[in-house]
């Protein structure tokens, strides 16, 4: 009787459960020396070939059948740990891994598990970590996050001095650049020479060019997901450096050991401070500097709740008698909450203000000030539900409220003040997604899901309707209707299906394919050859429809010599809708009827990317080659025929290498080659009022290609071998940018000769026309 009584509950429970009981082990994987979460660390029961990886917050969840297991925790560059675990209940286990002592044979160049290239269902993804970024020789010795990703397949720019970058035939506004989950609108200082990200504070950089998962949305061509360090939880440390342009300092440390920490990282250019003594009185009022500052605090409230607060501020100021001033400021709060061993949530809220201003420094009687900004507020919950080994479900959403101030100007003329401004624009962008990453058998992985996105163009504002005309001519305003605050002027919905599949051919190779549809509701309006900081961001309106892109990608991935070499070949094809272009001589600035100058058309891009990387050993590096084409077709431009985009580069080759000669010296080099970008050249000239003007008889756009771009950079790093106990460690970096002095043309334009105005010339403008040597010193303590 007793036995039956004991048996019944047992049967009842086993009826509720699966045939075999499963339990979950979950927790955080962190670094033993700093307490930083190890993004993507592997947690595996190797004996049964089952594993998972830690998410961007270092959280992992592994569900196994009841039993005893050897669970191995590993992360490149760290000593792996194996724990013997008796799994008879759900367990929480946080693990800390110790950094490997740097032996010559094991020098990693990315923080990824060895076979991630083939095993992960992700394709079209490149990751770079801070160490690699700092090794790549850079302009004036300033290591740069964005410049590093330019060396990856499928990524290019139109040249030095252009802000932004192009991915697989997409414009510079089609990349979602995220800094700890908050978007950055202008990722460069000083017209694109340097990015706004301080390499000392960066933990992880991930570029997604295709097969974009449903959790991301809002831009068509890529996601650049940058994660900054959280701050050393064990001890107070710092690092910094003095370079040719920036001086940098970052400080981090625990506020409460192992529970709370902070990070402050700042950079400032100091050319102006150095120059001040040499400027005469009249020039001493001139200002030119740029800075960025990141400040973060994180606190572990309890094992299930963590809070992160961060702020980023960056600004460029420059002028003399007039002043240019632009910058980003963001404030972000994030909350990690663990509901149970399988359900993890991150809730992000941020405020972002991107603004640019220009003024003439007058005397009160006469003055002029102009500014423009985008302010946005957002809430973004993301959930990860680790259902079982074979299924990881993610769902969540985002809502962003935008306030665009395209132009606010005030001028005082002869004592009279007045304001000129363009009306503000408002909008709200929403998204909801659900996706599942599923393992089928031992060879097939699938990531599938859908994102629903929505944009409403809101009042207060005007609904402008333009009269149709011959494409290519300015459209006149037919009517303008006023709407009240938060009234919907126009709205759009899009469903964005996403799918990625991976098939393991064998232990060392796999085939992957993906499809994604993306939509984009913000548009960068720029009429110049390279974008400038004063380019205008506009929301989708009743005239400007959302941009849409569909991308299909297929690739073959193979590792050689036990993951020593990683190689891949990927083909992609993209189709774009509602791409914005301008009529000839469009009036972009201060134009309340700007939409009448805009044209909409289709785009297409396709290409093949080859990539080989050597991951270990004293010599590491990679070769990346992309062959591609990117074109547009717009009624009213180029007589309606397809024409190449401004950033189309047929060949794009990068060779990057780094050699650890001995513990004291290491050397790096990179070589890049890319085909010239297209340009529009005239066929005829004519004269009006003594001025010689160009004319193109075919109304062609981008009918020529400027000469190819190629460049070699080298650098050497000297790390003096000090006594182990010496607190401050430093290294010297010597670099030369553009070693063989090539005058790479940024653009070719036509102008009258200064001495002989009758003579017109083709002038090649090179931004960097000689080799540029630099020395910098980096230290840590």
């Amino acid at each position: 009787m007793k036995k039956i009584q004991l048996l019944l509950p047992f049967l009842f429970i086993s009826f509720l459960l699966q045939a075999q009981e499963k339990y979950t082990i979950s927790g955080y994987v962190k670094s033993a020396s700093t307490g930083e979460e190890l993004i993507g660390a592997t947690v595996a029961a190797r004996a049964i070939s089952v594993g998972t990886s830690a998410n961007v917050y270092g959280f992992y969840s592994l569900t196994l059948e009841k039993g005893t297991y050897e669970i191995t925790y590993s992360f490149i560059g760290y000593e792996e740990i194996t724990k013997n675990i008796v799994l008879d209940d759900n367990k929480q286990l946080n693990v800390e891994l110790a950094e490997q002592v740097n032996e010559l044979e094991v020098v990693e160049i990315d923080g990824e598990r060895d076979e991630a290239n083939i095993k992960s269902v992700e394709m079209s993804v490149n990751k770079i970590d801070s160490k690699t970024i700092k090794k790549i020789p850079a302009l004036l010795g300033e290591a740069d996050v964005v410049k590093s990703i330019l060396l990856l397949p499928g990524v290019s720019t139109v040249g030095e001095g252009s802000t932004g970058f192009n991915v697989r035939g997409g414009g510079i506004d089609q990349n979602l650049v995220l800094l700890d989950e908050a978007p950055v609108y202008n990722s460069s200082h000083l017209f694109g020479f340097f990015s706004v990200f301080n390499p000392d504070a960066v933990k992880n950089v991930k570029l997604i060019k295709g097969g974009i998962a449903p959790e991301y949305g809002g831009r068509l061509s890529s996601i650049l997901d940058i994660r900054m360090k959280e701050g050393n939880k064990k001890e107070f440390t710092g690092s910094g450096g003095v370079g040719a342009i920036f001086s940098r300092l970052s400080l981090e440390g625990p506020i409460k050991k192992d529970k709370a920490s902070f990070l402050i990282a700042g950079r400032r250019s100091y050319a102006d401070i150095l120059a001040r003594p040499f400027l005469n009185d009249n020039l001493s009022g001139s200002r030119f500097y740029f800075y960025d500052l990141t400040a973060k605090v994180n606190y572990e409230i309890d094992p299930k709740n963590r809070l992160f607060l961060s702020g980023y501020f960056g600004r460029d100021v420059f002028g003399s008698g007039f002043l240019f001033n632009w910058g980003n400021a963001t404030g972000t709060a994030r909350w990690n909450h663990i509901f149970n061993d399988k359900l993890f949530m991150n809730l992000t809220a941020f405020y972002s203000d991107y603004d640019y201003a220009f003024g003439v420094e007058g005397d009160g009687e006469d003055d002029f000030d102009w500014s423009s900004s985008i302010v946005s507020y957002s809430v973004k919950p993301d959930f990860s539900y680790y259902i079982n080994n074979n299924n990881t479900l993610k769902f969540g959403g985002q809502s962003i409220y935008y306030n665009f101030k395209p132009a606010v100007a005030e001028f005082i003329s002869d004592g009279q003040t007045n304001s000129l401004s363009l009306p503000e624009k408002f909008g709200i962008e929403n998204g909801l997604y659900i996706q599942n990453e599923r393992q089928i058998g031992s060879r097939i992985s699938l990531l599938y899901g859908i994102r629903w996105s929505h944009f409403a163009f809101l009042g207060e504002g005007a609904k402008q309707v333009y009269r149709d005309t011959i494409p290519g001519i300015r459209k006149d305003l037919e009517s303008s209707t006023e709407f009240d605050q938060n009234e919907v002027i126009a709205d759009y919905n899009n469903f964005e299906p996403r799918l990625s599949i991976k098939y393991d051919v064998d232990e060392f190779s796999s085939v992957k394919a993906s499809f994604n549809r993306m939509s984009q509701y913000l548009h960068l309006i720029s009429n110049t050859v390279a974008s400038t900081p004063v380019d205008l961001w506009l929301p989708t309106t009743n005239n400007l429809e959302p941009q849409i892109a569909d991308q299909v990608a297929v690739g073959y991935f193979r590792n050689f010599s036990k993951n020593k070499y990683e190689a891949s070949v990927e083909l992609f094809a993209k189709d774009f809708q509602n791409q914005i272009d301008y009529i000839d001589n469009a009036d972009i600035f201060f134009n309340e009827q700007l939409e009448g100058d805009l044209l909409s058309g289709d785009g297409r891009a396709f290409g093949i990317e080859l990539f080989v990387k050597k991951r270990t050993g004293p010599l590491t590096g990679w070769v990346s080659y992309t062959l591609s084409r990117s074109e547009r077709q717009v009624e009213g431009i180029n007589r309606g025929d397809w024409y190449p985009t401004r950033f189309d580069r047929t060949h794009n080759l990068s060779v990057v290498g780094s050699y650890e000669y001995n513990p004291k010296w290491s050397f790096s080099a990179n070589f890049v080659y890319s085909s010239g970008t297209p340009a529009t050249f005239p066929t005829n000239r004519y004269e009006i009022q003594g001025v010689i003007l160009p004319h193109n008889i075919d109304q062609a756009r981008n009918n020529y290609r400027i000469p190819a771009y190629h460049r070699l950079d080298i650098s050497a790093t000297l790390t003096p071998q000090n006594r182990e106990d010496k607190k401050i460690k430093g290294e010297w970096v010597f670099s030369v940018y553009n070693v063989y002095n090539r005058r790479n043309p940024f653009s070719i334009f036509f102008d009258q000769n200064e001495n002989n105005p009758q003579v017109t010339e083709a002038i090649r403008f090179a931004v960097v026309g000689s080799f540029v040597p630099a020395v910098s010193y980096n230290f840590t303590f």
């Binding site: 004036l140 001095g161 050319a271 120059a275 009249n282 001139s286 002028g319 003399s320 008698g321 003439v360 007058g362 006469d366 002029f368 003329s413 002869d414 009279q416 007045n418 000129l420 009429n527 110049t528 050859v529 390279a530 400038t532 004063v534 000839d584 001589n585 009036d587 134009n591 340009a679 050249f681 005239p682 066929t683 000239r685 004519y686 004269e687 009006i688 009022q689 003007l693 160009p694 004319h695 193109n696 008889i697 005058r743 940024f746 653009s747 070719i748 334009f749 102008d751 009258q752 105005p757 009758q758 083709a762 002038i763 090649r764 403008f765 090179a766 931004v767 960097v768 026309g769 000689s770």
Partner: protein
């Protein structure tokens, strides 16, 4: 328009500043003349017709467009008939001087000075007729030109800087072209393509209606690289334009000053002169503008 503003009043200072900064940074931003092979397009008629209500001889110039690297004056179009139709069907004939210029002397049948009238240009050339209409808009008088001595600054030399004082007409949308001279010659003797243009009193209308011309425009009449010295004469011509011509001149300024970091893709400038038969194949280049003109000048005295 704002870019125009940048390229006009600040291009010299700003471009210089940027180039100096980059030069200092990288020791290397540079421009070189190179050889390029361009396609050649067929030649088209070009009509350069800026006519004012002045009592001086008015000139309309007709030429043909040519190969881009001609590097010589473009050929004249001499066998045309050029006339302007005014109020009461009065026809003003412009007579060819056989070098491409067509002249009209107002001392014969009067100046073209009916403010508000839509004058019509007619050009007969090579069997085709081209027409255009331009309204003669009023222009404010220039009250005065003031002077002040300025020390050297980044991008500007030491010397006397002048400003002109005039007030835009309130209640209407106006467009102006301001021509500045030093001792009778354009202030920029090398490059005459940096036109000073304004919409009402500023570079964009609406709020600037009825104001005195704003500081950057008032001050644009001095060449920062060659300011005035004692004894020089600073003079200004203020011309009224209509919207189409203003747009044409804006585009002219952009296309003639394109280059460097902020260049825009070269584009054809739309003409306000059309083939009368409506046949768009026979495109003609150039512009017709009727302007009222007001003048002022000032001789620099020691301060």
């Amino acid at each position: 328009m704002f870019l125009l503003f940048l390229t006009i009043s600040l291009s010299k200072t700003m471009k210089k500043f940027i180039y100096i900064f980059f030069l200092a940074l990288t020791f290397s931003a540079c421009e070189d003349v190179i050889d390029v092979d361009l396609d050649q397009g067929e030649s088209q008629l070009v009509i350069d017709a800026f006519v004012t209500n002045d009592s001086t001889v008015q000139t309309i110039r007709l030429t043909k467009s040519a190969d881009y690297f001609l590097n010589a004056p473009t050929p004249a179009a001499t066998n045309a008939q050029v006339s302007i139709v005014g109020p009461n069907s009065l026809i003003y004939n412009f007579v060819s001087d056989q070098t491409g210029n067509y002249l009209y002397d107002p001392n014969t049948t009067g100046a073209l000075d009916s403010i508000g009238y839509p004058y019509k240009l007619e050009v007969l050339y090579d069997g085709r007729t081209y027409t255009s209409i331009s309204i003669l808009n009023p222009v404010p008088t220039i009250d005065s030109i003031s002077q002040s001595f300025e020390e050297e600054e980044l991008g500007s030399e030491e010397g006397y800087y002048t400003q002109f004082w005039a007030r835009d007409f309130p209640g209407r949308e106006d467009f102006y072209w301001i021509k500045a001279f030093k001792n009778g010659k354009p202030i920029d003797t090398v490059d005459n393509s940096n036109l000073i243009l304004s919409q009402d009193a500023a570079f964009s209308g609406n709020a600037a209606d009825g104001f005195a011309f704003i500081l950057p425009i008032r001050a644009a009449i001095t060449n920062e690289e060659e300011p005035f010295e004692v004894g020089d004469e600073s003079s200004v011509e203020l011309l009224s334009l209509n919207a189409e011509v203003f747009e044409f001149l804006e585009q002219l300024t952009i296309q003639a000053n394109n280059g460097g970091l902020f260049s825009t893709p070269p584009a054809n400038i739309r003409s306000n002169i059309k083939d009368a038969s409506g046949n768009s194949q026979d495109e003609v280049l150039g512009v017709f503008s009727m302007s009222a003109i007001s003048r002022a000048s000032e001789t620099i005295t020691a301060e």
